[in-house]
Amino acid sequence: MDSKNVLSIWLVVGFSLLVNGVLILGAGLYELIYPPLHKVVLYEYHASIWWGAILAIIGAIYCLRFGPKRRKG
């Protein structure tokens, strides 16, 4: 939806997922390099890395699809 061409809600969602995904991915990579003293259960699956990457990719797709340039075109 374009709110009277002010802001696309999907762009907001995409931006949020992208930023959160990058932060989570970064935290996961940091934990991979410097393993924490107290690990969460199933730490060996490194959920932060792949879940962060999935969120960042989905967010990036939304930003590209619903970004200002695309909407004008």
């Binding site: 709110s3 949020s16 932060l23 989570i24 991915l25 935290a27 969460v40 259960v41 959920a47 879940w51």
Partner: protein, 581 residues
Amino acid sequence: MRPATMSTSTLVHLSPVDLAIIIFYFALVLAIGFILKKSSGTSEDFFLAGREMTAWVAGLAFLSANLGSLELMGWAGNAYKYGILAAHWYWIGAIPAMLFLALVMMPFYYICKTHSVPGYLKLRFGAGAQTLSSISFAFMTVLMSGVNMYAMAVVMKVVLGWNMHTSIWVSSVTVLAYVALGGLRSAIFNEVLQFFLIWAGALLIPILGLIEAGGWDGMKARILANLTAQGNAQGGSFTHLWSTLGTFEANPMGINWVGIVFGLGAIISMGYWTTDFLVVQRVMTAKDLRSAKLAPIIGANFKMLVPFIVILPGLLGLALLRDGSGNVLKLVSNDLAWNSPQLGLHGYDEVLPLMLARYCGPGLLGLGITALIAGFMSGMAGNVSAFTTVWTYDIYGAMINKNATDEQKVKVGRWCTVWGVIISIVTAYMCKEASSIMDYVQALFSFFIAPLFGTVLLGMLWKRATKAGGFWGLLAGTAASIGMWAWVKLDPGAVRYIAMSTAAQDQAQNMFRALWSCLIGVVVLVVVSFVTEPKSAAELKGLVYGETVIPSEGKFAFYQRPLFWAGVTTLMFVIVNVCFW
């Protein structure tokens, strides 16, 4: 290896990256409010988001308005307490009602162009029914916002150790800023954002939980073993949806299929999803009739999936949670756990944060906590925006200033938002002083829903229903509901008359109270209607079946029509119920 939770006074500790994710969320919602202020100049913009939403946005907002954190944490806790029976509130307790709203009731709400459900009552039954409904709704809505605020403060204190005053004031100022600036549009934006955050933050729990438990069968075996070891003979019933509903005693909820099918499926859920203005308002923002009918159907499909991030974590908690010594962790009532922190116990409603802390390291934990905060704030914003609309149109516009200009309505709406938040804060502090107020407010809210459904439904489907019938039916149903609740409070033994069994737990009592109050309201409406003068056919145009021409949805292929997708949704609904029978 141990979960990073058990040895500390608070449930989890946030890292800098977790705090960055939370701060980013607050910055984003405030930015949305400021950007959308430009597009909320008229009353249609401020109160109904310009009626320009697509079916997807309206549908997700419709669902998210109900997907608050009280709901998420409460039902995960109920799944721990009652087992998979809690999923009924997401399936039979939601899907048929959402489809009914889409196909049967939405055309009337949409055609008569009302701004609210009390607004429809005024058109159909006159000012008396509107006044009764709008005052009770406005009052209860704003109290519910305060309950949400208090619940958030408690959860943040228990989970993170945050100061309750800080939680109350930060959340209320943020909600005030974005609703007062952008109106309903801003609230809807945040609801859709919250929907994605909740899935992003919670979906990992069932995935990792099922891996740890050894799949669905492994989880069932662990639940049975844990409950049997605790002396609970009903362990097997925790993972069956229907097969234990033959008698009240065969399941942990103390309910039978009559209560679930008729009390929950036919009355409570129908009342909530079709007449509670908080959720219906979201669908009213749709850009055309086809979108308005599709929106609840889209919402229904996602609603069907919510048990996988709410009910399943509750069941996984029952199967997997251990204390610091490796023994099964037994959760207790919230009151006991939260009022006696020195005992080191955890309440039922903590099962979702406990599971979050079990699997989520830095970053993921921040996202999960952000999703909970977003859910709480969305719950507050939804209640405040619905209160603002009903107050402005059905109380101020109908009783105080009947000739209010568009500009005056927007001004009143913004001030109402301020007052709504102030009353919410007062309610939150009242709950803080006496937490039982929270239970009373939630019980009070339920008094109005079931009788309202009977009144609106007969208003839409029965031409003979009269103005006096509508008013007295609504009043009698509400009074009956309050009366039954008070009766059980004063004499707990009365539950055997109202819920037909002394084994009936709180949820079962709610089901039967709703069923009786709706029936009493309908009987009074019918009897009074037969002895009073009906409206003429011309007056009923656009309000009742038989006197209304439903406009065409336009020329679309069969797979683009609401009826087709309602059929697909029904099929999915049957499949999930059979799968978990």
